[in-house]
Symmetry: C2
C-alpha cells in the first residue's frame, strides 16, 4: 500500500502568514500523497466582531446559528481555503480546496438537540473514499475545510480534528496513513510548563503510564485518547508537533500502537 499523509493545521499556523508559507513549502515537498485539513481559528472571530455578530456561547461551547454558519462558510471555505490553495499552486502543488459538500467528500448529521441546541453543528457520518482516492490518483492534493453538509442542502460546522481523524481512518483501507496534527506546541509535553519536555514517542504502554502519572495537560488527554482510537481504526502512525514538524529540524511526538 502507498503512504498517505493526512495533515491537520490549527488556527495559529494559519493566522501568521510567514509560518503558513513556510509550513506549506514543507507540506508541498512531502513526496508521498497528501491531504490537508484546516479550520479557521481566530479569523472568524475577528470578522464577526467587525460586523457586530454576537458569538453565542452556551455551557462553554460555541453555538452556530445561521449567521455564524454563513460567516464560517465565508472564512473557512472562502478566504482561508482559497488562500492556502493559491499559495500551494504557486509552488507547484496541485491543490484543490473542498468543503464536505464538494463531491460529497464528507457528510454529517446535525447534532441532535439534548440539553443544548448547538445549532448548525454536524457530527460526521461518512467519508467518500472513492472521491478521495480518485483525486489522489490524479496527483491532486485535497485541501479540506471544516464545513460539512447533511446531503439535504444544509451546510454544517464540524470540528477539524475530527474530520482529519475520520479521513485518516477511512483511507487506511487503501493507504498506509500517517496522521499529523500541527498546533502551537512542539509536541506532547511531559510538563506543560516546559517547552523542552517533548515526549518523542508514545505507545500504548507509555500512554497508560502518562494517564496514571497525571502530569500531562488536561486538554491533551482527550486528544491522545482520540489518537489511539484512530490507531485502532487502522491509521499507522500519528505525529503531533508545531508548524515546523516537516522541516526535519524540529522535535515532535510520534504515536504508534
Amino acid at each position: 500500500m502507498d503512504k498517505l499523509h493526512v495533515v491537520k493545521i490549527g488556527g495559529k499556523v494559519i493566522e501568521n502568514k510567514d509560518s503558513l508559507i513556510s509550513f506549506l513549502e514543507d507540506f508541498a515537498s512531502l513526496e508521498e500523497s497528501k491531504i490537508l485539513v484546516h479550520g479557521g481559528g481566530n479569523e472568524a472571530n475577528n470578522i464577526s466582531k467587525k460586523i457586530g455578530l454576537e458569538i453565542k456561547i452556551e455551557g462553554g461551547r460555541r453555538i452556530t446559528d445561521s449567521d455564524s454558519l454563513d460567516l464560517i462558510t465565508m472564512v473557512y471555505a472562502g478566504k482561508i481555503n482559497k488562500k492556502i490553495v493559491s499559495l500551494l499552486q504557486s509552488i507547484s502543488c496541485n491543490a484543490l480546496g473542498i468543503s464536505g459538500a464538494d463531491g460529497n467528500a464528507y457528510s454529517a448529521i446535525k447534532r441532535p438537540i439534548k440539553d443544548i441546541d448547538f445549532g448548525f453543528v454536524g457530527d460526521l457520518t461518512e467519508i467518500n473514499i472513492p472521491f478521495f482516492t480518485g483525486l489522489i490518483k490524479q496527483n491532486i492534493v485535497p485541501i479540506c475545510c471544516s464545513v460539512t453538509h447533511d446531503r439535504k442542502g444544509q451546510l454544517l460546522n464540524t470540528n477539524a480534528d475530527t474530520i482529519a481523524a475520520s479521513i485518516a481512518s477511512a483511507l487506511s483501507k487503501n493507504f498506509k496513513v500517517i496522521l499529523t496534527y500541527c498546533f502551537e506546541k512542539m509536541g506532547v509535553l511531559e510538563n506543560i510548563n516546559d517547552e523542552n519536555s517533548v515526549i518523542p514517542f508514545i505507545d500504548t504502554k507509555k500512554y497508560h503510564e502518562l494517564k496514571n502519572r497525571g502530569t500531562i495537560s488536561q486538554g491533551m488527554m482527550p486528544k491522545l485518547h482520540n489518537c489511539f482510537e484512530s490507531l485502532e481504526k487502522g491509521v499507522q502512525e500519528i505525529r503531533i508537533g508545531n508548524s515546523s514538524i516537516f522541516s526535519q529540524k524540529n522535535q515532535f511526538t510520534k504515536i504508534k500502537k
Copy 2:
C-alpha cells in the same frame, strides 16, 4: 462529440432563494454534462456595507483593493459557491465547487495599470482543459466562481461572463458546447421596454440587421458581440434567457452562426 452545457447565472438568480432552487432543479435535470459559472451580485455589496468597507469606483468601474478581494473570495468562493453545491448535492447532482486556483482550473494575469489601477482584477489567460474533462468523465459537475489566480499565489477577481465564455470556447475542442446566459430578462429584446419582444433566433445576418437598426439596448450589443466571438471559437450554440430557461415553458433567445 458529446454535448456539454456551460451555464452562467447572474446575481439576480442567486439572490432569490426560490428562483435559485427552481433554477438548480432544472439545471440538475439536464441530461448532458454540465458546468455552472456564477458571480455574486449584490451579496458582496450588502456585506461590504455591513462591515463598513468602502466600495471604490473609478471612471465608473469598481476597484478591487485587498479588502474587497477578501470579501469577494469569502462571498463568491465561500457563501454562494457552497450554498449552490450543497443544494445540488441534495438533489443528487454531484457538484464540486471551485475557484480558478483549485486544480489550477482557470488562471489569469493581474490587469496591467494604464489610466486606472483596477487593483486585484484578473484577465483570463488559460483554461485547464484536462482538469475539466477529467471531472466531467467522473460525472462531477464543476461549479465555478469568478475568483481566479495568477499561479504566483495571488487570487484575482474576474468577470463571470468572461469565465463562462472562455471555458465554453476552450472545451469546444472536446465537446459540442451549448453556452447559456441566465439573467433577469427572458432573452434579447427587440424593444427594451417590451418584455414580450424576445427575439427567438439570432444568426449572423440578423445580428447585423439589429446592429444597423439600433433598437437593441446599449448593454446588450457588447454581449452579442462576445457571443459571436465565442461562436467563432467553436461554441455550437448560445442561449440567453432568465432563470426559467431550462424549464421548457419559457421563451429565450437562441444564437447560432
